[in-house]
């Protein structure tokens, strides 16, 4: 006598604590083994791209911070670079260094949280607490620099909104020593941990060729053995002057992705130290008052500045017609922005190249043949944020 066993279909999410957001994953199971998984995204779709066509150039910057809310500072960076290229805005050296500094700090925050979340998903709680603490310290520095912990609107076309005081830079430099210890603690807890390795080694393997075909970027691509980092290959701002290494692993599994992130935090600490040591003096943003707001003191005595201020915050500025694609190395991969300007004060079209969409589209490939309980580990290791993938 034989009985026919049907495959079991499971709805994972949209509200599930291990899904890192609103992901609806339809999993087809044979026993506990995954036959097929199909992600449904778009549950956090807010129509940012449509809204941006309706707003002036400088009003669009905060939209980008609300995409990948875990590393809010890196996203507007790409947009700001694109607008600067189209409008021909020159950024002073100090402004460039400050932008690089905050984006590297935000990279540390994002990586430490994603490592902690991965560890939490496979059953270790302490690294998550460590990761959250690191992120909290980074948020405090962001608050001191921009006035807001997370969405500071710090990077703007023409430079950054506020200068950093020397004591803040000193404090960041001092914190880098503490951070090195915290990362070492994370490393000690996880890297050689038997349970962690059992849950991550050889789970969710993808080859370099497949990863490129899917459009992987960032740590997930580097974990497959492709040496690809926008900061090295197409250096923006002053990354050419910085000395750092790229983490590459050849395994392409969940553990490799974790190891690449861990190495990257250490490299980022190196970058932050170099940036603070070589911080140039001078203005933190361009002096062209057509693109940045003038000083309040100056506005009280100069009619010209008052007009500039009013024009900047009502009409904005006109960007000459043109199209450009600019990308930055965000913590999760290549984050790019395609801006089409038509000569008015609003962009004609803004397209966001997200980091998470290619990684999510490969989820079926990554999870196929694994156990149901491996899904949280794989999701944690590809480091996705739905605010960004859904826009």
């Amino acid at each position: 006598m034989s009985t026919e066993i049907k495959n079991f279909r499971l709805n994972f999410g949209p509200q599930h604590p291990a899904a890192h957001g609103v992901l609806r994953l339809i999993v087809e199971l044979d026993g506990e083994r995954i036959e097929r998984s199909e992600p449904h995204i778009g549950l956090l779709h807010r129509g940012s791209e449509k809204l941006m066509e309706d707003k002036a150039y400088n009003q669009n910057v905060p939209f980008f911070e609300r995409m990948d809310y875990v590393s809010a500072i890196n996203q507007p960076y790409a947009y700001v670079l694109a607008v600067e290229k189209l409008a021909g805005i020159q950024v002073p050296k100090r402004g460039q260094y400050l932008r690089m500094l905050v984006s590297e700090l935000s990279r540390i925050g994002s990586h430490s949280l994603s490592m902690g979340a991965l560890a939490n998903d496979v059953g270790a709680i302490t690294p998550l607490i460590l990761g959250l603490e690191i992120r909290e310290r980074i948020s405090e520095f962001c608050e001191r620099a921009s006035g807001a912990r997370m969405h500071g609107n710090y990077i703007r076309p023409g430079g950054v909104s506020f200068d950093m005081k020397q004591e803040l830079l000193d404090d960041i430099l001092t914190y880098m020593d503490d951070l090195t210890n915290d990362i070492q603690a994370c490393d000690d807890l996880l890297s050689e941990n038997r349970i962690f390795k059992q849950r991550t080694v050889d789970i969710g393997v993808i080859s370099a060729k497949q990863a490129l075909s899917y459009g992987f970027t960032g740590p997930n691509l580097r974990a497959c053995g492709v040496e690809w980092d926008i900061r090295k290959s197409q250096p923006y701002d002053a990354y050419e002057e910085i000395d750092f290494n790229i983490a590459v692993s050849s395994d392409g599994d969940t553990y490799a992705r974790y190891a690449v992130r861990l190495f990257e935090i250490r490299e980022t600490i190196k970058i932050v130290r170099q940036l603070i040591k070589n911080m140039p003096a001078g203005r933190h943003k361009t002096d062209d008052e057509k693109f940045t707001n003038p000083k309040r003191k100056k506005m009280q005595s100069s009619m010209e500045s008052l007009i500039h201020h009013f024009k900047l915050f009502s009409e904005g500025y006109h960007v000459p017609a043109g199209e450009v694609y600019e990308s930055v190395e965000a913590p999760k991969g290549e984050f790019g922005v395609y801006v089409i300007a038509d000569g008015t004060n609003k962009p004609y079209r803004v397209k966001v190249k997200t980091t998470s969409v290619p990684h999510l589209s490969a989820l079926n490939e990554l999870t196929k043949g694994h156990m149901l309980s491996d899904i949280p580990a794989i999701l944690g290791s590809i480091d996705i944020v739905f605010g960004e993938s859904d826009r």
Binding site: S213, S233, I340
Partner: protein, 213 residues
């Protein structure tokens, strides 16, 4: 700059049989314009040729050109490809009209699957021979293509939870106040960019209606 010029030469050499225009944009990017029937051949040559190796698909971008002058067809689909060996990216532009389909490149890049689904969702450009052309970002049962320029920013329907029915319901959009379009554009500033001066003078300026009273 030199690197880009060499790349341009190489691309022209590889794509000899294809009707195309290759140029360097003022923003220093390589732009290739091809017809839609040559698209797949062009991309496969760019991907596999040893001198180029554009092996990473970065993005597929839809653009609605309806409000822009100088475009024959309504939509542009822009493919951004990256070469990890040359460490650069380039764009390929294909123009299509409304209801005209475009060949899918999912057999060349698996990652194009979702990117093409997004373009279909947002612009309604169908991709020929796409394995699974469903909407990607909008709601189940959504109607219309939101990034077309004739789609209003506030959409057509809104969603709320109805206490009485006990489920989420869809209703036509009811705005409590009119959608405010802050048109703070100085009318005289845009005129500088217009090519003909006599045409610029013909444009009505605010206050003109009072001048002739």
């Amino acid at each position: 700059m030199l690197k880009i010029k060499i790349l341009l030469k190489n691309i022209e050499g590889v794509l000899t049989d294809i009707k195309k225009t290759v140029e360097i944009t003022p923003q220093n990017e390589v732009k290739l314009v091809v017809d839609k029937q040559d698209l797949k051949l062009a991309i496969s040559l760019l991907k596999d040729h040893t001198a180029l190796k554009f092996n990473l698909i970065t993005d597929i971008i839809g653009v609605d050109r309806i409000n822009q002058e100088g475009y024959e067809k309504r939509f542009d689909v822009i493919y951004i490809l990256t070469s990890t060996s040359l460490q650069t990216h380039m764009k390929i532009v294909v123009s299509v009209d409304i209801d005209e389909d475009i060949p899918s490149i999912t057999d060349l890049f698996i990652g194009a699957d979702w990117l093409e689904r997004e373009v279909w969702d947002m612009f309604g450009i169908p991709f020929d021979a796409h394995p699974d052309l469903r909407r990607l970002l909008t709601d189940y049962g959504f109607e219309g293509h939101p990034l077309r320029k004739d789609f209003p920013v506030y959409g057509y329907s809104e969603v709320r939870y109805d206490e009485e029915v006990g489920k989420v319901i869809y209703e036509p959009v009811k705005l409590q106040q009119d959608y405010r379009q802050f048109n703070s554009l100085s009318p005289w500033e845009g005129l500088n960019s217009q090519p003909q001066q006599d045409q610029a003078q013909a444009v009505a300026m605010p206050g003109d209606e009072k001048a002739n009273v």
